[in-house]
Subunit: 363 residues, 2 copies
């Protein structure tokens, strides 16, 4: 079999503000691969089916000399591709493909326990094919629930785990609590809303467009507002105080949440997208942490303690609840790596509605 | 017996910046009391021996229409003096005495369980004599350790409890940890340093003068610096990363601590004095809470959970360790209510060295 294209999305340049398709990231269709003959060196060859687009990617699009403000993990691609035990904290490497959580299907394997046709979840490059050396950090998806592969990078993947782990470990929610979820229309926020409603709590949520507000209302949120047209502090003044704040946004929204927190409130610090692409809004009322005895917990979904406690229950429970329709979701699917740069930008500007996923190839 | 003076320190005016003696607070020696005949109405008459001066008092010197940024508790004096079950959160009342933790000796009592000569700890006015209706929120001090009464509002009182409760509950310190204590020369900081050193940890601490730096070194701090002449971030860059941060200061110091925190660091948010008397420094790197998985816990020493868990062990343990010299302390004693206004100002500007206490009367 002759070589076939192995197109990829390359990190081309550190963005100043928002990541620009064609400038920050460049689609390169010129590389080729021979799937039947590429050496596996004891590993396996994946055809990449889907890769995830998440807010935190912006943190990796930086000068590598600047310490990360984003995520750390065990895996890396790029120029040091041979090792998959390097931290995710490093910046993306200029000239190398971006990478993120994805799902691929095994075309060939020399590795015990991995066979042709298996579906593998883990960190994958924005690239059509990739030889992976082993299973460390990867998971073979059995998909007994028969949900789309794209969901395994969404509500059944990293964003879903983030919500599941963080909510179960840190919300300490009790009957009668009021919960505020910022960025409620995103994949993390949308499932947090549903967890909170399943416990019978009052849920206030913000989103960035009227369309998104309609979506979060359909998930059961009691109070939903467009933060671009309604002041967060006014809504919380009226509907609060809040006992749990799930923070995807930071900045001015966090300031409003501190101002309207109840004594002993729990703040789950999941992300601060308001500061990722420019000036960080400086929060001025941190004294409320003391006076209201607030507990803020920052966490990442690959925290080993959380993974050990929650990963298996998560895979046991969430795909089923998605398959049954008990947990609702929306996806924003982009077809083809050539369009992935725009998907990345849209997530930073908040244009996507639902979990952003790039469909790289059909199964 | 004729009436005697019952001098007091009155809250006179809301300060704009620092509280000014003679303006914010006014000494008034004109009231009188007849200790032998004042009606007790079933309560008891105290001669006030000592009252505490603490940073948080600044938060109560405000327009009562502004919600508190300071402390809440169960007791209040002032115009609603009959009730001692009102929150401490209210502002001080213009024209009424200030109040804070103090110790008094019982001159007369109509209350079962309280007898002449007993020493009582609790919220007392800045006033020479006071009739207290009951024991709710007060404690009879047995003082088996025979330490000075002033210590019962210092390291054996609220600041000591703050340190003891917060350290034991929230530090989660483990062997090899590095601890940063801001405001290390204050009563809270100075005992936290000693708790951390007793556990064999590396302690970095900041203080506001070279004299204070010498004091915190004498407590065993491994690294001590004058934050007015040395940049906190440079010290932490060299001596960190920090696993535990005990925050008495907030602002720029908190920002430096976030920048040099280890993954999973615990921040104990005890106070933010840097922002009490003017502009609040806006912290710009809160994203580190997420990326470094930091847990920040704000707390107040009268949190019922903490009181229930730690109050008795505290009184069992700390006075003894103070008496034996195992725990070191310094006090900054001010004699006479006429000088209390200056003591209050000095605590806000950081001029005091050691726990500030006003000696109102001799025992």
């Amino acid at each position: 079999m002759p070589a076939v294209p192995n197109a990829r999305l390359v990190f081309n340049e550190v963005p100043q503000g928002y990541p620009e398709p064609g400038k920050t990231t460049v689609y390169d269709a010129s590389p080729t691969i021979d799937p039947e003959n590429v050496p596996l060196n004891g590993g396996y060859l994946l055809k990449v089916l889907v890769v995830s687009v998440d807010p935190y990617l912006r943190g990796k699009m930086r000068d590598p000399k600047i310490k990360s403000y984003s995520v750390s993990s065990r895996f890396d691609f790029g120029s040091r591709g041979a090792s998959n035990l390097i931290s995710l904290k490093p910046a993306f490497v200029i000239g190398e493909p971006l990478y993120n959580y994805g799902v691929g299907v095994v075309l060939r394997s020399e590795l015990d326990g991995v066979k042709t046709g298996d579906h593998i979840y883990g960190i994958l490059p924005f690239e059509q094919y990739k030889v992976i050396p082993n299973l460390q950090g990867y998971r073979i998806l059995k998909n007994e629930a028969k949900i789309p592969w794209s969901l395994y990078v969404g509500l059944a993947g990293m964003p879903g785990k983030t919500s599941y782990y963080g909510w179960n470990e840190y919300s300490l929610a009790k009957k009668g609590d009021t919960v505020f979820v910022s960025g409620g229309a995103g994949p993390v926020g949308s499932i947090v809303i549903q967890f909170a409603k399943a416990e019978g709590l009052k849920v206030i949520t913000s989103a960035g467009s009227d369309q998104k507000v309609e979506f979060v209302k359909s998930l059961g949120a009691d109070v939903a507002f467009n933060y671009k047209t309604t002041k967060t502090s006014e809504v919380l003044q009226k509907e609060g105080p809040i006992d749990v704040y799930w923070d995807n946004v930071g900045g001015e929204t966090l300031e409003a949440a501190l101002e309207h927190a109840s004594d002993g409130a729990r703040f789950i610090e999941c992300g601060m997208i308001s500061g990722y692409n420019g000036t960080v809004y400086p929060v001025k009322n941190l004294i409320q942490i003391v006076s209201r005895q607030i507990k803020l917990t920052g966490f990442l979904s690959f925290n080993p303690y959380l993974v050990g406690k929650y990963e298996e229950p998560f895979y046991e429970e969430i795909p089923k609840r998605l398959a049954s329709g008990e947990i609702k979701y929306t996806e924003d699917l982009t077809h083809g790596l050539e369009n992935a740069g725009k998907a990345i930008l849209d997530v930073q500007t908040g244009k996507n509605v639902g979990k952003s996923v790039v469909i790289v190839s059909q199964d």
